[in-house]
Symmetry: C2
């Protein structure tokens, strides 16, 4: 047999909007042998993942598990299950990912009421209240918790209260929020929340943790028409994640991805969720102080500024593309470009996953200092 | 920080219907560092994957890439793009996975003409011809190439000829076929084919290679309504896999999964596709001879018998469940139970991926001999 060229990749410090470098133990877990999707040891791994996810989402909901696809598929799982053609939905969008939620709702035939805010600003609670007051029979509202395109935090807790007051369910994008900033699914009354396996969780990219309230699950059970997607139909999907009964075959689970997310979740559990949230605040404050002392300005300030996703405005005359290339090729540090209208105007700097520490920030600062 | 329990799993010889053990180099590739989805090195990895997949599918189609989810999602990607509500479709189903294709078509609103065959028998070409002759304006036909539930091969080449004759497109499930038995996408005129990353390809489970003909792609471009799924809309998705133009962000690619599939594809390329097909025939013939010499009978015989997926009938008085448990726990060998109506009547024995060799079969036989 001819000699095979092994797949090897460079070690890059990933300080962009994601993926971030993974938590300790994650990459090692990925090279463990494949187990089949119904192997008794594998089912135990799934049970442990579920338990850790309930801890992370701060929920008791049994409708909590991993969708075997990236966060974008988790988003779709929420919309394809909860939206029926003609349903009236308030879509909050103040960035790229809010726009994508809007696109999902539109494709599934929702009648959409848009609540927008300028990029860099959070959704106004008055605007949400007003949207509910001027539209009857709103079934759902959707909002991004941590908008990855702008670095803005939306006040999900308050928006969920308005949803409850007006009898609507709420879908929350927690892709950049989960494991990084406080998010309390049961206490806040969230109905459908999706995230990703990388970023705050610190596994590798590719999986999407989700959780649904009983009210959301009941809405799916009572649909007029079946969920168009067989693969994503949560009433079918979650039987494979049941911990009490026999587990029917659904799909061949990506075993290595499940090992990896379990390794990351064990790591988070060993530190403790409150402490993890505080570490994000602390390290981000250090980064903010160091950058402002160098004269950099931030796109978002005040309460709406996310600690884990920093949008720094590029100084006048600073060349975006060539400096990002230099960061990547010369210093082995990745930072993220601006998305959409912010391209060329800012960098997105993520402090997440395995990089929530002074060492990672110092390596990033050293690279910036040497541009 | 408290000590973290590393994720470790047992080494099981996976001789069931999949997953199979992976090809050399795959598990090592998974522990390479994460690269971001737009990193220049990562885009080169994607280009190489695409090139190898074209080799494996025996196609020149540029609409060839990996869907970031398991084979079940690849199936759905074909149906959600190619089926519009009211489209007339012939669904061939003679096993569990044919039934699932039927379920997909139904959920997307197709008007379905079923062509069935008894489990264990291939789809009759006369029945297909008859279905075309008695129904006008059939847009699509769907069929499983290697039916994992029964061990039957359907004559996809001949069915594709009938489709062409009657002006219909053809969707083919190649989950258990690709990399194991001859499948020639361009020569046979297949329009939408999906597979998985494990089994014949020999990577770990979780990804779905797909390929579309220009005719299929044009049908999607000319839909009356947008594809309901944003994530799976191939006209959006494939821009990220374009090799000539700038690559827009679509989703955060599961980097480790892409490394793993690349390692497996390099391995296949180094051996050569024809030789790989022959190895499957040779090792399966050895297994057949050894089992029949022990008095076992096979559910499928003749031309329709798949080499890579063997359905062996359980001898009278042979206890299915306790013997499978003994195989797994005592001898560390997994075999698959029968699905649906064949549960308790047969075992499904896969000889795929990293296990297409005499050593793996001998280890399996030794375990069976010691039951």
């Amino acid at each position: 047999m001819s000699q095979i060229n092994p797949v090897q990749t460079a070690e890059i410090l990933l300080m962009g909007p994601g993926p971030s470098n993974s938590m300790p133990g994650v990459l090692q877990a990925m090279s463990e042998p494949v187990l089949s999707h119904l192997d008794p040891d594998f089912l135990k791994i799934m049970d442990e993942i579920k338990e850790h996810l309930q801890y992370l989402f701060v929920t008791q909901s049994p409708h909590t598990y991993v969708v075997s696809g990236p966060g974008s598929l988790g988003m779709e799982t929420c919309f394809v299950n909860l939206v029926e053609s003609g349903d009236k939905i308030i879509c909050c969008h103040n960035g790229y990912f809010g726009d994508r939620m809007h696109e999902n709702a539109k494709r599934y035939g929702a009648e959409i009421i848009s609540v927008t805010a300028e990029w860099g600003k959070p959704i106004s609670l008055d605007d949400v209240e007003n949207a509910f007051n001027t539209n009857i029979n709103v079934k759902l509202i959707s909002v991004v918790h941590a908008e990855t395109s702008t670095g803005v935090k939306n006040d999900v807790e308050a928006i969920a209260k308005l949803a409850k007051k007006h009898g609507a369910l709420i879908i929350v994008d927690a892709v950049t929020a989960l494991g990084a900033i406080p998010l309390k699914v049961d206490e806040w009354g969230l109905d459908a929340v999706y995230s990703c396996s990388q970023k705050g969780i610190g596994s590798v990219p590719g999986m999407s943790p989700v959780t649904f309230s009983q009210a959301a699950f009941d809405k799916v059970l009572n649909r007029k028409n079946p969920v168009p997607s067989w693969f994503q139909d949560i009433t079918v999907y979650e039987k494979y994640w049941a911990t009490q009964t026999a587990r029917p075959y659904h799909h061949t689970a990506p075993s290595q991805q499940y090992y990896a997310i379990l390794a990351a979740l064990r790591h988070i559990k060993s530190i403790g969720l409150e402490k993890i949230w505080n570490q994000h605040i602390e390290i981000s404050a250090y980064f903010f102080q160091e950058m402002t002392s160098r004269g950099w300005k931030f796109f978002v300030e005040g309460d709406a500024k996310l600690p884990q996703l920093n949008t720094v405005l590029l100084p006048e005359g600073f060349d975006d593309a060539s400096n990002r290339t230099k960061m990547r090729n010369e210093f082995k540090v990745e930072v993220g470009a601006g998305l959409g209208s912010m391209f060329g105007k800012l960098w997105r700097i993520g402090i997440m996953g395995g990089n929530v520490n002074k060492e990672a920030v110092d390596q990033l600062l050293k690279a910036i200092d040497n541009l």
